[in-house]
């Protein structure tokens, strides 16, 4: 698979780090299908992947002119997706509250528009922030939490404690 610049539909489904872990597990399962003789792959693949993932998978295969039942094609595709996963840029986001699915999608949409398409969210919840968030991306670190603001305040005014 030389076409590493191809925008994979499968990859575009990934929103959070958990999504990535889940996908990696599914890929490992797909791997076990390879080497088995006298099997039609497609129905087995459909079993392993969920509905949305399977559709994205088929679309990728169509665009890349691959045969889902061809073992070599499947192996190459899995390696291709693995390479793509290695190159993911994570945006680490720490929030004070557990976000709803809608909130996550909103954030993700914003990231895609303003930062880029191969970014995946790495979400953590830490109540100690009180409110606000900490954002980390590309080695840059920004702390917008209330906790940090309070720490800075106490540091400037130690006599008030």
């Amino acid at each position: 698979m030389d076409n590493l610049s191809y925008r994979s539909r499968l990859m575009s489904l990934l929103t959070t780090r958990e999504d990535v872990y889940a996908l990696e597990e599914k890929l490992e399962n797909l791997y076990t299908l390879i080497g088995k003789v006298n099997t039609t792959l497609e129905p087995k693949i459909k079993d392993i992947l969920d509905y949305n993932t399977f559709n994205a998978f088929l679309e990728d295969f169509k665009n890349l002119r691959l045969q889902p039942n061809n073992q070599t094609d499947l192996e190459n595709y899995i390696d291709f997706i693995k390479k793509k996963i290695e190159k993911i840029n994570y945006l680490k986001l720490t929030l004070a509250i557990t976000p709803s699915k809608e909130l996550i999608d909103e954030i993700f949409y914003w990231i895609n528009k303003n930062i880029g398409q191969d970014v995946v969210l790495d979400l953590t919840v830490d109540k100690r922030l009180i409110a606000g968030s900490i954002i980390e991306y590309g080695g840059r670190f920004k702390n917008y939490s209330i906790q940090a603001k309070l720490d800075a305040f106490w540091a400037k005014n130690p006599n008030l404690i």
Partner: protein, 486 residues
Amino acid sequence: MNNFDYYLNTIGEIGYVDQINGSIVVVSGLPKAGSDELVIFESGQLGQIFTMKKNQLEVMLFSKESVKPGTKVARTGRSLEAIISEAMIGKIINPLQLLLASIDPKNKERLYPIHMIPKGITERESISKPLETGVSIVDLAIPLAKGQRELIIGDRKTGKSAFLLQTILNQTQQGSLCVYAAIGKKTLEIRRIEEFFIKNKVTDKVIVVASTPEDASGIINLTPYLAMTVAECFRDKGNDVLVVLDDLTTHAKVYREISLLAEKFPGRNSYPADTFYMHAKLLERAGNFITSGGTYSITCLPVAETTQGDLSGYIQTNLMSSTDGHLFFDSNLFAQGRRPPINPFLSVTRVGRQTQTRVRHDVGREIISFLNLFEKMQNFIHFGAELGQNIKTTIETGNKLLKFFNQPMHQTIPTNIQVLLFALIWNDVWDKSVIDDLDKYVNLLVKKYNTNPEVKKRVDSLVEKKSFNEMLGSLRKEYQQIVDVA
């Protein structure tokens, strides 16, 4: 808020530890990191960036405990700089503790760079003042000057430390400040040095910068540079400073360790090729300088260890060729009971002589050429044949001189007394009973000189004649007068 959190939030960049290789840590992230910048780990540990590649940084860790992969790293925006203040006097400073105190955001004191570019020719003046060690054989035969770099070199346990402490004692009593760099020395040794300073009441004039084998190599490596920075600061405050670097052979080995771990190409004896440059740059920071407040000097006595008296080692010759001379502590002489076992034929001083008075100059020359002769004479003794009177006298005088040059550790002799003592021996003024009890008489003379101003005046005027010959002319008469007064 601790230092790590402070810097993480203020600078707004984060990195993660990817790999560990001894004291070298590979870190990703920190996009705007600067060369040689200090970084701080989540654990509070400190490190310094020394290589930057496209996607990774190599950081030298300043503590022996390792860090786990995945540990967060923050930039401090600082380079190797330290607080230097009067509060350091009389204390033992550890470079790591000092660095940690210096990067503390609450610190408001001025910071001084640990690595400085040595001053150029416009800020230096020709060396003109002698540096008196209080040890006769050095001050008379191999004299040193203020602003000189003189290498103290010899095998282990040849009395180098004793000599250094004698010199520090003498210099601090004359008003100089002393900075002692103990580079990777055992804690016990450092305590002993501290004891010496306390016992001799010179703690108000010394600063010890010390690292032990427990410290990380990166910190041991910094010790002499920090000591130099301390010296430069106090020079700028209007002091003549004496810096002892004990010892640079250990320092070179530590530097080699760090470089090899960082996969720098090995050169001679596996030392990195810039070992000479590294030491030269350090030693060039000593000298005689013109400051806004006057001319002040930094005299440096770096120490180098040899094995079996071999002066031809790579580090040893590097140091000999970047200093202004060397005092060779000969283990053979040590075994013969000479203290200090300084070999005057294998020692060199490149700038000391130009600062001496005429009399001392003459004395120095007499001593060296006499000792040369004395050495040759030793060959004749082995023949067991009848020795002419000439030879016998020479040998007798030689033995008296050697006795004079043997100096116990706590004894420092003012230069004028040294000259007087030499003259008395040279001219055979003293009889056998005095020579047998030489130490006692010397101590007595030194005491009288230091406490009785009349004695001091007479001795000084005797010694400060126009030439040695002139001095010898009036020696017996004036010496008798001094004895009468004392």
